[in-house]
């Protein structure tokens, strides 16, 4: 990507990711991830399968799961649809990168700035989620992922390490409200 002269801001409006610490938990603004949606086209299922294998080097995960390999993590978000995570620094242009791998066997849409991610890490993570999410996170294994609702906001929740590390993606425009909800819950529970 060319060097341009526009300065980015984080989803919370800052210059650098924000970090909030609580006993047993830290909440960190996630700003280093590029995202795109990848949807298989109905007309070319075989080409899509092949492309996915070649491009990622791993099988795309099934419902409520994510899978990782190399630069990429694929999160199942719906039937025949995945969100692809990759390092922002090298994949800011993630949509054309994927397009090159999938051609017209997939529909690909840049989602990087559609979402605001927060990482919740620490041994008390589940105590906080229990007042945020109706998902049974106690049973969600490492790699589990689900779209759900947190404090009226549609979110994508990814379990990086069961019981310890979760990522919550919410709509970028409501990042401040999502952050407020996470921090309020952490104060309340911890």
């Amino acid at each position: 990507m060319a060097e341009h002269r526009l300065k980015p801001i984080t989803q919370l409006g800052g210059d650098a990711p924000r970090r909030d610490s609580f006993p047993g938990l830290t909440i960190t603004e996630r700003t280093d991830t590029a995202l795109a949606s990848l949807s298989a086209r109905q007309s070319k299922p075989a080409e899509f399968q092949t492309a996915a294998k070649v491009f990622f080097g791993f099988d795309l995960p099934g419902p409520a799961r994510s899978a990782s390999g190399g630069d990429y993590t694929a999160i199942w978000t719906g039937p025949e649809q995945w969100f692809i995570e990759a390092p922002f620094a090298t994949h800011e242009d993630i949509a054309p990168i994927l397009k090159r791998g999938f051609g017209d066997s997939a529909s690909i849409t840049e989602q990087t700035d559609g979402w605001a991610g927060f990482d919740l890490e620490g041994e008390r993570a589940l105590s906080v989620f229990e007042i945020l999410s109706n998902l049974d996170l106690g049973k969600l294994p490492t790699g589990g992922a689900s779209r759900t609702v947190i404090e009226h906001l549609g979110c994508i929740l990814v379990c990086r390490v069961a019981g310890r590390h979760y990522t919550v993606y919410g709509g970028r425009s409501s990042a401040a409200s999502l952050h407020h909800a996470l921090v309020t819950a952490a104060k309340s529970a911890l």
């Binding site: 990507m1 060319a2 060097e3 341009h4 002269r5 526009l6 300065k7 980015p8 801001i9 984080t10 989803q11 409006g13 949606s37 949807s39 086209r41 109905q42 007309s43 649809q81 242009d93 017209d104 529909s107 690909i108 849409t109 840049e110 989602q111 990087t112 700035d113 559609g114 979402w115 229990e130 007042i131 999410s133 109706n134 998902l135 049974d136 106690g138 049973k139 404090e151 009226h152 906001l153 709509g171 970028r172 425009s173 409501s174 990042a175 401040a176 409200s177 999502l178 407020h180 909800a181 309020t184 819950a185 104060k187 309340s188 529970a189």
Partner: protein, 983 residues
């Protein structure tokens, strides 16, 4: 005052005395007390006044079923009306006030109602207060309202924080008495995920109130050990101070945890209460039973209480309502109260047993075959009158009377899905009938009233529940415990001329039930509604069955034939704030902020709520004193040079795939199949009923790639609708859609200098000249030295205009860069008001016009509905009622006198016709002051409006007594030929 009625023993922490006040007087109690137990220990029996007759009242129970001892707890903004003293945990500094009296608790002027009670019989108000007609609202009702109600709200915003949470388990055990503990132990040892919820602050249920032993241990100690074991297991969650309030569909239970109610104020950031939504595979209801009173004359005197409660106060709380007590019972359990109080050193004046054939009682005078006929002592019991088996009446001095009419299983949660309980003649009580799916009932709640029976049924219930979800229960060794039979001879009330209370809080007496019967209100629901029985804060927990029994006697039917009331959630009342949780006040709903929010805040923008979004409404500058000054300036500057507006809030849906064009062709009423790549087209989307659903522009970025925009308000609904079409109507169309609304920061750049400004932003390799990038063109470009961006040549304002989009994180940078680049043109950012003014000047429909009842024809776009293809809504838009000659058409209006303002919501009346509904010609949808034209303008729907341009009409606003003469004009006020936007 000393704790003159404090006994020895009990489960109190005597090393921790607590000071508290009631009605301003100071008292002391101990950790482990409730407000009621501490007051009783201090010799206070009078704690409240009844609802209707303002009768003096004391506690009749020691639990959440309490109808009488309800107080205003705490003060200031934290004042809690109607709090049951019987479950309010004592804490240092607690202050409580009695409620519902005029004057003091002891001398309540409204006690006059009691003297006049014969005029206030059940339903009296339906028969009077009707004359003269105006008096109801002016005199009678205000009088009634002033007298009614119980406690008071502080009228201040609740300062506390409430949480909502979600828990999952294999087995939810409701109640931690003997059966609940046995169930929880069974399930926990079997490896199931268990949640054990109990409303009390000390789990154990009746085990804490009784002197029975379980094996070698006291009941309380056994409970403590069981809880300790459960707490040590990782698969068990114990929730104390948590009442399960409702059984909802599919194993979902609501539960309220009182996290901080036992301390003066919640710790900083901590919740007062949490509303848990518990997802259970199975549930064991072990909610115990509630004792019921026997009604007799003046049975509501302070000091008359349930026998089991009297015993609980003595055993658990080491408190007695008096040093000389008596017991009145129709069953064996009542006798226990007498022996337990004797064991505590309280004198028992007599045991009045309505049965002649019950077991003999030693230790106090046992009057068998006798009944209590009256209670004396206005502010507190002093003596009772007893009718002996011989027929003689005897007066017996007593400060308190324990009454037991038998026990009613707590079947409430079994009824929450409209299951009906069934009558059990042996217990003379209703027991659970049809159960919610997944629920098993155990212990006293299921009619197993002995400790031994409760333990066994708890273990069995857990095993049965687990079997249903494929878990084999391990058997649990249960301790030896009492297994006494119930032996009850029903006695609901003692017949007498005086008033005998059933529902104490609402002052419903046996006479009222009889009157209801006399007047034909004989079904249970009629009885309840006519007399208000069971509608008080205790929901009739101690009165409903007795009332039913009296009605059964009247009708000559059995109790089950007479009916049962439907118990509904919540089991006990729940603060409204707890149901709201964190979604209160300004946190009611999340906010959505635009990419330029930070920049606009720095500029001092005034923001407005648009759905969930906050958008800049206008950006005032120094010296501007009214919003109109700012908005007029923004409009004129834009039309005069260039203005920028954040339009990110418009929905953007990415539509891709080989069938994307065909899909859009069916979603929109106008054609899309042949839209060239690099072009944008306006689309009108109809609902299937032919009414306009939404509108917006769609850009074709590639053969198989479109970006569709929706209005801000409809973004979510349109996406849902498109998914419906894609998945349900045409499942084999190869099209994929996804929202990209927030991924792109999008700005409108409008005005004669728009292109000049953008040429400084858009990288030079992209030619945006009019020839290379004409009106309705679009393309992917780069800006500011290589950042990927999208450019659309579309115009809402009617000016030469573009919309430019960059990834959202750069939106803030882009607006700053554009302001910098626009300095030479005096570029400014305009808000939603100026946006609105310009769209009205241009005659574009927006939310006010797309109100869900307007068709394409109404909007003046009837011709857009293409009849050569199938599209949603096209067929039903052909219906005759939607194509009448006098259908509404969207037209423009301007005041005949240019100085007159117009208002949205004015109605149109023909000149010379009276302003009434018959002559209503339509209404004004949107208005603005047009700074371009120097007068107000409006859009509106007018019957047959398209054919009426040039007419003069009255625009009336009877709400304000105003009217303005308006001229019907074209809705395109500015640049009607559209020359500017093509320039």
């Amino acid at each position: 005052m000393s704790q003159k009625n404090r006994l020895s023993g009990g489960q109190l922490n005597r090393s921790k005395p607590l000071n508290f006040t009631f009605d301003g007087a100071s008292y002391q109690g101990y950790e482990g007390d409730t407000l009621a137990s501490a007051l009783l220990a201090n010799g206070v029996r009078l704690m409240g006044r009844s609802f209707k007759y303002h009768r003096p009242r004391g506690p009749i129970s020691s639990g959440s079923e309490e109808p009488n001892a309800i107080v205003e707890l705490r003060g200031g903004a934290r004042q809690e009306p109607n709090t049951r003293a019987t479950i309010a945990e004592l804490f240092e500094g607690l202050s409580a006030k009695s409620q519902n009296h005029v004057g003091s608790l002891k001398f309540d002027f409204l006690a006059i109602n009691d003297r006049l009670s014969s005029f206030f019989a059940a339903g009296f108000y339906y028969k009077t207060f009707m004359w003269p007609k105006a008096f109801w609202e002016k005199l009678y009702e205000p009088m009634i309202r002033r007298a009614a109600g119980l406690g008071s709200l502080s009228m201040q915003d609740d300062p506390d924080h409430y949480d909502k949470g979600f828990l999952h388990c294999d087995l939810l055990v409701i109640g931690a008495g003997p059966s609940g503990l046995a169930a929880a132990l069974t399930a926990a040892r079997s490896g199931a995920r268990v949640i054990l919820a109990d409303e009390d602050f000390t789990p154990g249920g009746r085990l804490n109130a009784e002197t029975f032993t379980l094996g070698d241990a006291s009941g309380a100690d056994w409970a403590k050990a069981a809880i300790a074991e459960l707490a040590s297991l990782p698969n068990v969650r114990i929730l104390t101070r948590t009442v399960v309030i409702g059984a909802f569909d599919h194993g979902i239970y609501g539960a309220l945890e009182r996290v901080s109610d036992h301390i003066a104020t919640p710790a900083s950031g901590k919740p007062r209460q949490i509303l848990w939504r518990i997802y259970s595979q199975r549930a064991v209801l072990a909610a115990g039973a509630t004792e019921r009173p026997i009604a007799f004359k003046n049975n509501d005197r302070p000091g008359v209480m349930l026998a089991g409660a009297m015993r609980a106060y003595a055993n658990r709380w080491a408190a007695t309502p008096g040093q000389m007590v008596a017991v009145f019972t129709n069953n064996d359990d009542g006798l226990r109260t007498a022996s337990d109080l004797l064991a505590k050193g309280v004198r028992v004046a007599a045991v009045i047993d309505s049965r002649s054939d019950g077991p003999a009682f030693q230790g106090a005078e046992h009057l068998r075959g006798a009944v209590v006929t009256d209670a004396l002592g206005r502010l507190g019991l002093s003596s009772i009158k007893v009718k002996l088996a011989s027929g003689e009446t005897r007066q017996i001095a007593a400060e308190a009377l324990g009454v037991s009419g038998g026990w009613n299983p707590n079947v409430h949660l079994t009824c929450h899905q409209r299951g009906l309980p069934v009558w059990n003649a042996e217990l003379a009580a209703f027991v659970p009938g049809t159960l919610p799916v997944g629920m098993v009932v155990a212990g006293a709640a299921n009619g197993q009233l002995s400790t031994s029976g409760a333990l066994a049924s708890g273990a069995a219930a857990a095993a049965q529940a687990l079997e249903g979800i494929g878990i084999t229960a391990k058997s649990v060794d249960l301790p030896q415990a009492e297994d006494a039979p119930v032996r009850v001879t029903p006695l609901w009330y003692v017949p007498h001329k005086g008033r005998a209370w059933l529902d104490q809080q609402n002052d419903v007496t046996v006479k009222d039930v009889k009157l209801a019967h006399q007047e034909g209100f004989r079904s249970v629901e009629h009885l309840k509604r006519y007399t208000t029985m069971g509608m008080a804060t205790d929901q009739g927990k101690t009165s409903n069955i007795s009332g039913l029994a009296v009605m059964a006697e009247m009708t000559g039917k059995s109790i089950p034939e007479t009916g049962t009331t439907i118990y509904r959630p919540p089991y006990t009342p729940v603060p409204i704030a707890a149901f709201a949780g964190r979604s209160a006040g300004a946190d009611f709903r999340p906010k959505r902020l635009t990419p330029s929010h930070k920049w606009a805040s720095e500029q001092g923008a005034v923001f407005v709520e648009v759905g969930m979004w906050l958008r800049a409404q206008w950006l005032p500058r120094a010296g501007e004193t009214t919003w109109r000054q700012s908005v007029d300036r923004e409009v004129l500057a834009t039309r005069g040079s260039v203005g920028i507006c954040d339009v990110t809030t418009l929905g953007k849906i990415d539509v891709q795939g080989p069938d994307a064009a065909e899909f859009l062709n069916r979603i929109y009423c106008n054609p899309f199949a042949k839209l060239p790549v690099g072009k944008v087209r306006y689309g009108l989307m109809l609902r299937e009923d032919g009414m306009a659903m939404d509108d917006g522009t769609t850009a074709r970025l590639a053969e198989d790639h479109f970006v569709t925009t929706t209005t801000t308000a409809n973004a979510v609904g349109v996406y849902r609708h498109m998914e419906f079409a894609r998945q349900c109507l045409w499942p084999d169309l190869d099209v994929q859609i996804i929202s990209t609304t927030e991924a792109w920061a999008q700005f409108s750049v409008a005005g004669p200098n728009a292109r000049a400004l953008l040429e400084k932003i858009v990288d030079p390799e992209h030619d945006i000249s009019n020839e290379a990038f004409p009106y309705m063109g679009c393309g992917e470009i780069t800006v500011c030295g290589g950042l990927r961006a999208r450019l659309f040549r579309i115009s809402f304002s009617g000016e030469l205009a573009y919309e430019i989009a960059v990834p959202t994180r750069y939106g803030d940078g882009l607006v700053r860069a554009m302001m910098e680049a626009g300095r030479a043109f005096n570029a400014l950012v305009y808000g939603t008001e100026a946006l609105g003014v310009m769209r009205i000047e241009k005659g574009h429909a927006a939310g006010n016009e797309l109100n869900g009842t307007t068709s394409a024809l109404n909007l003046g776009m009837g011709g857009m509905v293409n009849k050569k293809k199938d599209s949603i809504g096209s067929t039903l838009s052909e219906r005759e009622g939607m194509n009448r000659a006098d259908a509404y058409n969207l037209v423009g209006f301007q005041p005949v006198d240019a100085s007159k303002p117009l208002l949205g919501g004015m109605h149109f009346i023909n000149q010379g016709a009276p302003a009434d509904a018959k002559n209503d010609q339509g209404y004004m949808t949107s208005v603005a002051f047009s700074p371009s034209l120097g007068h107000s303008i409006g859009l509106g729907y007018l019957k047959n409006g398209a054919a009426r341009k040039g007419e003069t009409l009255r625009a009336v606003n009877p709400l304000a007594g105003e009217e303005v003469m308006v001229k019907v004009v074209s809705a395109h006020f500015v640049d009607p030929e559209g020359e500017r936007l093509r320039g």
